[in-house]
């Protein structure tokens, strides 16, 4: 299903390797797929007969479910492999797991793994299309894409927007994907968080760094608030969640003090009361649920675009038309 070079190539490993045009193509393609999810029968036959494996080495309910919906709405057959029940636990290497699956003639693999570079590692070794659903702290491209789509829906464009990523950028693949996606489409990117949670080289990445959340709110058109992982506290990056919330938490008061309304995004799941207060998450400028809806459409678009046709059949089909 993947023999012809598609506009995206064989795999979606990240947003950094894509051009602005490619990212725009995915967002444009996601539009009609949004409509399908509004129908009574939320299914099109496009990927009928395709086999897609969701290879999740890290537990993740929401991303996996979102991909599953996307796959099933395209009529594909899906198989879920979770690390807790698979041969991986017995010490089978990533390569062997993938090769075994490929030997069963699967068409696409959606992989989430704890090691940065795992998706690329897999993509280089199997013929099936590989979609990165999050590799270590490297990238989570479909999340970046759905964030971009949500922003575009609201503002009508991405170029010239000021978007600030708030929180643990150091450990966040969502932050990186957003950073690349936003820059490629011409937005200005800011980051805000404790310096111990920003990469040391952040000043070399051409973003605006805000030490204080109030300044970030004053500057931004939209905030993408990252989930703070509780382990950061025990690993000595920040003193406590309480202090994090007091110093960096996005609260109603802070937002009200800004001159204009700032759009609120969050990849979920949220730590209410830590990085984001409930009245902000549930408030009028929160598009967090739209992000979830857009997630399925974006993933359908990615699956659709990666599943190209076969060149030899394209040759044979050249004589006939389709009308």
């Amino acid at each position: 299903m993947s023999a012809v070079p598609t506009p995206l190539g064989k795999d979606l490993l990240g947003l950094e390797p894509l051009t602005g045009e490619q990212i725009t193509l995915i967002l444009d393609t996601a539009e009609p797929f949004k409509e399908i999810s509004e129908r009574a029968i939320k299914k099109v036959p496009t990927l009928r007969g395709a086999t897609i494996v969701n290879l999740f080495f890290e537990a993740s309910t929401r991303t996996r479910i979102s991909f599953e919906f996307a796959e099933k709405r395209l009529s594909a057959d899906t198989v879920n492999v979770a690390s807790s029940g698979s041969s991986v636990q017995k010490g089978e290497t990533l390569v062997d797991t993938a090769r075994n699956l490929e030997a069963m003639r699967i068409d696409m693999v959606v992989i989430r793994h704890g090691a940065s570079g795992a998706a690329q590692f897999l993509a280089e070794r199997i013929e099936s299309n590989v979609i990165n659903a999050g590799d270590g702290t490297h990238e989570h491209p479909t999340q970046g894409l759905l964030d971009l789509l949500t922003l575009r829906d609201h503002f009508g464009k991405i170029a010239g927007l000021k978007v600030c990523i708030v929180g643990d950028v150091l450990h966040s693949r969502v932050a990186r994907s957003n950073l690349w996606g936003l820059k490629k489409l011409g937005a200005e990117v800011g980051v805000c968080g404790p310096r111990s949670l920003l990469p040391n080289a952040i000043d070399d990445l051409d973003v605006v760094v805000f030490e204080h959340i109030e300044d970030a709110i004053g500057w931004a058109d939209a905030l993408n608030i990252l989930r703070l992982q509780l382990e950061r506290m025990t690993a000595g990056y920040i003193p406590s969640l309480r202090e994090y919330n007091r110093v960096f938490g996005v609260s109603r008061e802070r937002l009200d003090r800004a001159e204009r309304n700032v759009l609120i995004l969050h990849p979920g799941p949220m730590n209410r009361g830590v990085e984001i207060d409930s009245d902000v998450a549930d408030g009028p400028f929160s598009v967090i649920l739209d992000q979830v809806t857009n997630g399925v459409a974006v993933r359908m678009a990615v699956l659709y675009l990666l599943s190209g046709g076969k060149p030899e059949l394209a040759e044979a089909a050249k004589g006939g038309g389709s009308r």
Binding site: A40, L74, G309, A317, G321
Partner: protein, 183 residues
């Protein structure tokens, strides 16, 4: 050297034909009750809009109009190469129990209409589905026939028929030409 071309219908002829087709659709349907026109992307949509406008003029009734993109239902997605762009689909009313008329510019193999039928089935169960096309060029590969035809055109396999609409192509016309040599 540009491929040999001839104009099958000029702008006036297109207009005349569409007026006649609008009348035939209403006649075929015994009126405008429960009628909905659904145009197939892309030019079927513009033609459906013209037909609805003609019907409104004649019958003083507004017939709902929908647009259908059939890309995701094509039977040749496996072979067509890089993914075609998917256009918008919008069916603004419930089609259960309605009389649907699919509108397209050119009917050839019938595969597009087959895809449209599959897609409509996912929206509901109309009472009846009919097909109206501006041009029927023959060459069917499936047992699909139009109910309302603008013009039948004899077309050899080495030729192509293109419908131009003002909204997209700056003029209305139907052109018959030799297929360009592909490199």
């Amino acid at each position: 050297m540009p491929p040999k071309q001839s104009t099958v219908l000029d702008a006036r002829a297109v207009d005349r034909t569409l007026r006649r087709m609008a009348d035939e659709i209403v006649e075929f349907n015994d009126g405008t009750d429960d009628l909905i026109l659904v145009g197939i992307q892309r030019r079927g949509v513009q033609l459906a809009a013209r037909l609805v406008s003609n019907i409104a003029e004649r019958e003083r009734a507004t017939v709902p109009i929908g647009a259908l993109d059939i890309t995701l239902y094509r039977d040749d997605l496996q072979t067509v190469g890089p993914r075609p762009v998917v256009g918008p689909t919008s069916i603004p009313v419930d089609i259960d129990g309605r009389r649907v008329v699919i509108v397209d510019d050119v009917l050839y193999t019938g595969r597009t209409v087959r895809a449209a039928l599959d897609e409509l089935a996912d929206f509901g169960r109309p009472k009846r589905i009919a097909l109206a096309v501006l041009i029927d060029r023959g060459g069917r590969e499936l047992p699909i026939q139009p109910d309302v035809v603008g013009k039948r055109v004899e077309c050899a396999p080495g030729q192509r028929v293109d419908v131009l609409v003002e909204e997209l192509d700056e003029r209305d016309a139907v052109i018959l030409s030799d297929r360009e040599e592909t490199a």
